[in-house]
């Protein structure tokens, strides 16, 4: 097998094995209901993780995602409460803001040559702070259009539902895969992850690509915020704390190298599903504390980082012998 597919194959194998184990213990877990819920419950995280995958593939990091999600939720709730705007108009508005916010961070990272970690950390505080400025309390969304959207779903055989937001996540993943592997922009993202200096010498438009990557991540964080707002029917400035870290975990478990340049958007989907599966298992069990999710994800993450390290070591050794 081509070595670049090894981490992805490992992720898929872990997911299949874990799911099989779950079914052995709780045969009920093999139902379209569980799968439908898995998609719905993780929709906002999945959408944000697609953006994160691009950022990490390019060798960067985006810590602002959770805060942007919270800001988006509060913004939608407050605007809907205080104006007569239709939710769709508000969505377009907030997506524009989130995209601009990401683009701005990308521009700072590129033009001021600042580490993405610091810039997006500042972005995280800024977005979270803006959410607090809009409202300190949780603001419910009561617009009838929300109910319409929530009632919209595709019924799977066996009673499961692909909800609007679950389906949206799958669409975003499909688009992400297409962009990563079938567009020049996608190739440029991988090129940046392989080495910015080399990419520049090969004529990759580094500035444009960097800005576009963070703008794309911002856009998806905004979309994730909309989904989160639909999911919870409220906007709260303390919501989605640490989602960026969950997204990073999903990306790494999905087989993408944290150093950039290698990985697959599709792997992130599996990463999300593995994390959701652990959560579902704990729900089924009923007696386990939900903190076990964190512990298991921590262990899994550690295992994957070790695997990547070993993989890098092997490929380096191979190159030396060549």
């Amino acid at each position: 097998m081509n070595p670049r597919y090894v981490p992805l194959a490992a992720t898929i194998a872990i997911f299949v094995a874990a799911y099989a184990l779950c079914i052995l213990q709780y045969p009920n877990m093999l139902s379209t209901r569980v799968i439908g819920n898995l998609l719905t419950d993780n929709a906002f995280l999945g959408i944000a993780a697609v953006g994160m995958t691009f950022v990490i593939l390019s060798g960067g990091i985006d810590l602002s995602i959770g805060a942007v999600i919270a800001f988006t939720g509060v913004f939608i709730a407050v605007v809907l409460e205080n104006t007569g705007l239709h939710p769709l108009v508000v969505f377009v508005l907030v997506l524009g803001i989130a995209t601009l916010f990401g683009a701005l961070m990308g521009a700072i990272i590129h033009h001021l040559e600042m580490p993405p970690f610091i810039v997006t950390l500042a972005g995280m505080f800024l977005a979270r702070g803006m959410a607090f400025v809009l409202s300190i309390d949780s603001v419910p969304v009561k617009h009838p259009f929300y109910a319409t959207m929530k009632a919209f779903y595709y019924r799977l055989p066996g009673g499961g539902r692909i909800t609007l937001i679950g389906g949206l996540m799958l669409l975003v993943f499909a688009a992400g895969i297409l962009i990563a592997h079938r567009t020049r922009f996608g190739a440029n993202v991988y090129a940046l992850g392989g080495g910015v200096q080399t990419a520049r010498l090969m004529g990759v438009p580094v500035a444009r690509t960097t800005i576009a990557i963070y703008a794309f991540s911002g856009l998806l964080a905004g979309l994730s915020g909309i989904v989160f707002s639909l999911y919870t029917s409220a906007g709260y400035s303390l919501a989605a704390v640490g989602v960026e870290l969950d997204a990073i975990a999903a990306v790494v478990i999905g087989g993408t190298l944290l150093t950039g340049g290698s990985g697959f958007v599709g792997g992130t989907l599996i990463g999300i599903l593995i994390m959701g599966l652990i959560q579902t298992y704990i729900t089924f069990d009923g007696s386990l504390s939900s903190w076990w999710t964190k512990i298991l994800i921590g262990l899994l993450l550690f295992g994957f980082i070790l695997m990547q390290k070993g993989f890098l070591y092997l490929s380096k050794g191979g190159r030396r012998l060549a």
Binding site: H181, T183, R184, G186, A187, Y190, G195, M202, G203, R319
Partner: protein, 511 residues
Amino acid sequence: MPGNILGSEDIILSATGIDKVFPGAKALNKVNFQLGRGEVHALLGENGAGKSTLVKCITGAYRRDGGRLVLDGVDIDPRDTFEAQRLGIGTVYQEVNLLPNLTVAENLFLGRQPRRFGLVDARAMNRRAETLLAGYDLDIDVKAELSSCSVAVQQVVAIARAVDLSGKVLILDEPTASLDAHEVEMLFAVVRRLKTQGLGIVFITHFLEQVYAICDRITVLRNGQLVGTREAAALPRRELIAMMLGRELGDEIKTVAKAETEEGPVRYRFSGYGRRGHIAPFDLEVRKGEVVGIAGLLGSGRTETAEILFGAEKADSGSAEIEGKPVELTSPRAAIRHRLGFCPEDRKVDGIVGDLSVRENIALALQARRGWARPIPRAEQERLADQYIKALDIRTTDREKPIRLLSGGNQQKAILARWLATNPEFLILDEPTRGIDVGAHAEIIRLIENLCEQGMSLIVISSELDELVAYSHRVIVLRDRTHVSELVGEAVTTAHIVEAIAAGEKQGASR
């Protein structure tokens, strides 16, 4: 100007009066450079002469501060490499060339992938990559990651990309620095083919034999100024070196026979030393004041030998003795404690710490030996740095300059200074003269001879056999990760080394 004999219609690229100023230094001063169609033109000069700067001004990596650049009769002013590429100027670099994490085909077509309905058509891209590489006699899996290819193949892929992209001017910036003789020949075949296609090729290298092997004309720069452009055939090597250095080089390489040190006591004895998968067990004895040369082709186990001696790779068989006492050299730390020093081959990766200053880089190994709990006083560090900057003639504006801003030869000297500062008794040098200019070459060779006269034991790995023969008392020849032959005294000649390497080439050739 001598050598400026081409008619204007034969000139593809003409640079006149190019100026480039960096803070604190004038890197180029009114440099003229003319490149003809179907010409291979060498651009030579010592480190820091301005070759790289001139090339970067042509490829758009730098913006020039003055002068004219005319490509194919049209004034150009590329803002970046991307624009230069589109105009017709392609570049292949020695170190950073392509992206190891992308496939061969992706590397060839990055930024101009064939598209269908707005999406990249991977199948068409791979097909076109195969066709393109077939023109270079290269039959490889274009879907494989570039990092799985050998350096020579990567270099040809880089050339294929550059030529396919630009097609007028090809700049080769030290493309042969990490290739062995066979691979260089393969590269030259490609260059000759491109030459007949009417491309103008600029060739930058430190290997003068290669210049004479392939170049039509030679342009020499020194201290940012043009020294002259000459026909290669009409320029004797001595005169060329004089142009580059601005002085006659006393004796380029000392060739007098070395004093025998056979009688001296053995100071270092390694018996049955080896590591599976790296280097077969070998016996090695080194005397005081002796230089042992290590020769062999790329990948024959030269660097592996050095790493195992220094403890960078742990030996899994055999034993080491220093002056009759058994010692454990299981880590570089232990080796440093026993007064060993090691200047690795790839100074960018293993040697320098680019962002630290020259002073800090020089003090590094000494500090490591003292232990981090006992910092070297600043004044002492400064004294050390100044001493070696002077002693080794390290050219830097001041000792606090980040070392990555220095040229290759000066970085190499700084690394040497780092180990000399620890007062080693046994120094391992892996390719000390690779990628540095002729002047620095001679200086480093002189340094090696001085060190050995002072009683230091040295192991020197080098692909430059003439050099190796000049300073080694003994030469160990490696092949297929095994020590196959040891030449002593009178027997140390280039011919004997080549013979010893070639003796097993029938098996080795398949590598």
